[in-house]
């Protein structure tokens, strides 16, 4: 049974369709990545899943039960880490953890004990008594994450938890999240960082303009491009069209075409060297050909016609 099941979730703000029939599932011990650019509908989706926003349509099931049938029970199962730092800067790290533990229903002594555990796990024990306002960005992010974990949630919703921090702090947080997954926690992880989704998530949903365009493991998404490699051709493509090249569309799938670059994937299982020969024989003067493994950006490119970083 899935920990979280989202079915046909939709939300509009006036004329803007922020989330449009989004469906996915998160299983125990799985990190599900919701990958998309800013404004794609990731935060709105998390807000609806956590009960902050009321969906216009669709359903959210937490541990098999409809969220709205017993919101308090659903909330006790999940922990939510908002994108913004939702902590009290005047309070110390320990005080923040203990306070949110109390809000999650822990007794004062349990909250204290759990805060000590988390401070150790988050490598903040030596700064536990300092006011959060004196923490670095990475430390604040870690406390922000820790505040959602006091009650040991089975389901964790992480909304871009590594935004705006340095690479080392990001690595620390990602490592911490991997350890959480190892304990059986199901994690919904939204991000617009391709590398994070690739390295962290078991399954990925690509979301844009409120719709999930594709979903699957990284390998499955790569497969959508026709294999585990793509070719990047550099040439002057201003006055030439792949449609005009004899049999090209039967042998290659165009992922992206610009005036200077053509990104293609081979259709069917063929030897890369054969593909390379075919590409070099095209009726254009190819200056350079690169062979690479397709990234999530290539998948996004194929799905939306633009790069995720745009």
């Amino acid at each position: 049974m899935s920990l979280l099941k989202v079915a046909q979730l939709s939300k509009s703000f006036g004329a803007v369709r922020a989330v449009d029939s989004v469906s996915f599932e998160v299983h125990p011990g799985e990190i599900y990545g919701l990958l998309g650019p800013n404004g794609a509908g990731k935060t709105t989706s998390i807000s609806m899943i956590s009960g902050l926003l009321e969906p216009d349509a669709g359903e959210v099931f937490v541990a098999g039960a409809s969220f709205w049938s017993n919101p308090q029970k659903a909330k006790s199962i999940m922990g939510v880490v908002p994108q913004e730092l939702a902590i009290y800067e005047e309070l110390s790290g320990r005080e923040n953890l203990e306070f949110w533990g109390r809000m999650a229903g822990l007794s004062p002594s349990d909250a204290k004990a759990r805060a000590t555990e988390l401070l150790e796990a988050l490598m903040l024990a030596d700064r536990a008594k300092d006011a959060v306002k004196n923490y670095s960005g990475g430390m604040k992010r870690r406390i922000n994450l820790g505040c959602a974990l006091l009650h040991r949630p089975k389901l964790l919703l992480l909304d871009e938890p590594t935004v705006g921090i340095d690479p080392q702090a990001r690595l620390n947080i990602l490592e911490f999240i991997r350890n959480l997954r190892a304990t059986g926690t199901g994690i919904l992880y939204t991000t617009h960082y391709l590398e994070e989704a690739e390295s962290l998530c078991q399954r990925i949903g690509i979301i844009d303009h409120g719709r999930v365009l594709a979903e699957g493991t990284f390998a499955e998404l790569q497969e959508r491009l026709g294999g585990d490699r793509v070719f990047v051709l550099e040439a002057d493509f201003k006055n030439s069209s792949p449609d005009a090249w004899n049999g090209f569309n039967q042998r290659f799938r165009v992922i992206q075409k610009t005036e200077k670059q053509l990104v293609v994937a081979a259709i069917g299982t063929r030897d890369p060297s054969d593909c390379l020969k075919e590409l070099l024989n095209l009726p254009v003067h190819v200056e350079n050909v690169t062979l690479k493994r397709p990234s999530l950006n290539d998948v996004f490119l194929q799905l939306t016609g633009r790069e995720l970083r745009e």
Binding site: S50, L52, P71, K75, A86, Y88, E90, E95, P108, A131
Partner: protein, 431 residues
């Protein structure tokens, strides 16, 4: 959980106390300033009124008045303490120019003679110190009362005055039979006038909740007398009612911070009901308001020497009013989640509630429409009016009913605020 929420807010305030210190100091400073302006440090009422009397008349009777005035320099029943200095005109003018006295009263030469013999119009001269406002005005009013009394005497006893003049001019060799006859005749006249002057035709008694019509009543021994007849208690209660609203607005503005910092949102990811969060914020506001109220009413009481007649009722009512103020501003925040826009509107709301509720002015002075249809339904009026009744009205004031009304209104407003917030959050409220 409520305690954890309250402890969190108190801790945050403790870590960043400056805004609240300012909030706590402002009422004290305001009270002290008012005290200084009205001379509250010298006594429970208007304080000691120092003035010079230049007696150029120098008759036997004026000497008698001088001795009488000197002997009654203590505080009278209205809390006014007179401190006359009998001196000559030059010295009196020096004192007033040196801002050492509030006024100079000049009794001109032959004043008594002219008054008794009605030979020509008489006048008393009062020179007021322009550097002071209240004390000279009080002396002027007092002098007005004396002049009215003298006019009344002149109208009723004019025929007897020549005889009195001859007695006064007797240089101690008065004819006691003549004096006795004069007193006897005066007694007869007063006896005849008794029906007109006792009871007085018109007196003012303070309205009570049971008797709110502005009817003219005779005393008959039923008027509520109060030894603590201190106008500053009346003012301070109204001032406190308004200031507590202002402070409640400041305290509940913390909700905007919680919205801005997304901590209110985070709370909702853990708890379904918003009531505990709002109730704890209201509790925090109430705690701070009680502190401010204690400073204002307690500190003001010390400065103005106010003896609070019913301190327990006063504290309990302040608690109820603080609950109302907190809940009222919780609703305002829920209605206007835009912090910048709400700043002006909440100030206006507080000001309106205070003014229309009769906190700044006596409710009787408000326009009839407000007084009859709006004021009496406002919690600010319930609080200020009941507090004033308690202070001036005795023991039969139904303050527990007022407390009940305040607490019930607070509970309703708090639930309303929670409903409004929930609706706005569901619709996508972001700070």
């Amino acid at each position: 959980m409520l305690l954890a929420l309250l402890a969190k807010d108190l801790r945050r305030t403790w870590r960043n106390p400056l805004p609240w210190l300012i909030n706590l100091i402002v009422p004290l400073v305001m009270t002290a300033l008012i005290g200084l302006v009205f001379g509250g440090n010298s006594g429970g009422g208007l304080g000691k009124i120092r003035f010079a009397v230049v007696n150029e008349n120098n008759s036997r009777l004026s000497q008698f008045f001088r001795h009488a005035a000197t002997s009654m320099t203590g505080e009278n029943s209205s809390g006014i303490q007179l401190d006359p200095i009998f001196t000559n005109r030059v010295e009196a003018m020096r004192l007033i120019n040196a801002d050492q006295i509030s006024a100079v009263l000049i009794i001109p030469t032959n004043f008594l003679h002219d008054y008794l013999l009605d030979s020509q119009p008489v006048s008393l001269q009062l020179i007021k110190n322009p550097a002071e406002s209240v004390h000279p005005a009080v002396l002027e009013e007092g002098l007005g009362v004396i002049v009215t009394a003298m006019n009344a005497l002149a109208r009723n006893f004019q025929s007897e005055f020549p005889a009195w003049q001859s007695v006064i001019d007797g240089n101690g060799d008065g004819d006691y039979h003549q004096i006795a006859a004069l007193v006897d005749r005066a007694g007869d006249k007063l006896k005849a006038a008794k029906n007109y002057i006792d009871p007085p035709l018109v007196i003012y008694t303070k309205e009570t909740p049971e008797d709110e019509t502005n009817q003219v009543v005779s005393t008959g021994g039923t008027a509520k007398s109060n030894s603590n007849n201190n106008i500053f208690a009346y003012l301070l209660i109204g001032l406190s009612a308004m200031f507590l609203l202002f402070l409640a607005s400041n305290a509940m503005n913390d909700l905007y911070r919680e919205l801005r910092q997304r901590t209110f949102e985070r709370y909702q990811t853990l708890r379904d009901s918003l009531v505990p969060f709002l109730a704890s914020k209201a509790m925090f506001t109430v705690v701070m308001l009680l502190l401010c109220g204690a400073l204002m009413l307690g500190g003001g009481g010390l400065i103005f020497r106010i003896h609070w007649e019913h301190p327990l009722a006063l504290m309990t009512l302040t608690l109820g009013y603080a609950c109302f103020a907190a809940a009222f501003y919780a609703v305002l925040v829920a209605l206007m989640p835009d912090e910048r826009r709400s700043a002006v509107l909440s100030s206006l709301a507080g000001l309106g509630l205070g003014l229309v509720g009769g906190c700044a002015f006596p409710p009787q002075q408000l326009p009839a429409f407000l007084r009859e249809h709006i004021t009496r339904h406002l919690p600010s009026y319930w609080f200020a009016d009941t507090m004033r009744d308690l202070q001036y009205g005795g023991t039969d004031v139904a303050w527990s009913l007022t407390l009940l009304k305040l607490v019930a209104t607070s509970a309703v407003l708090l639930v309303l605020a929670a409903m409004l917030f929930r609706r706005k959050f569901k619709a996508g409220l972001r700070a």
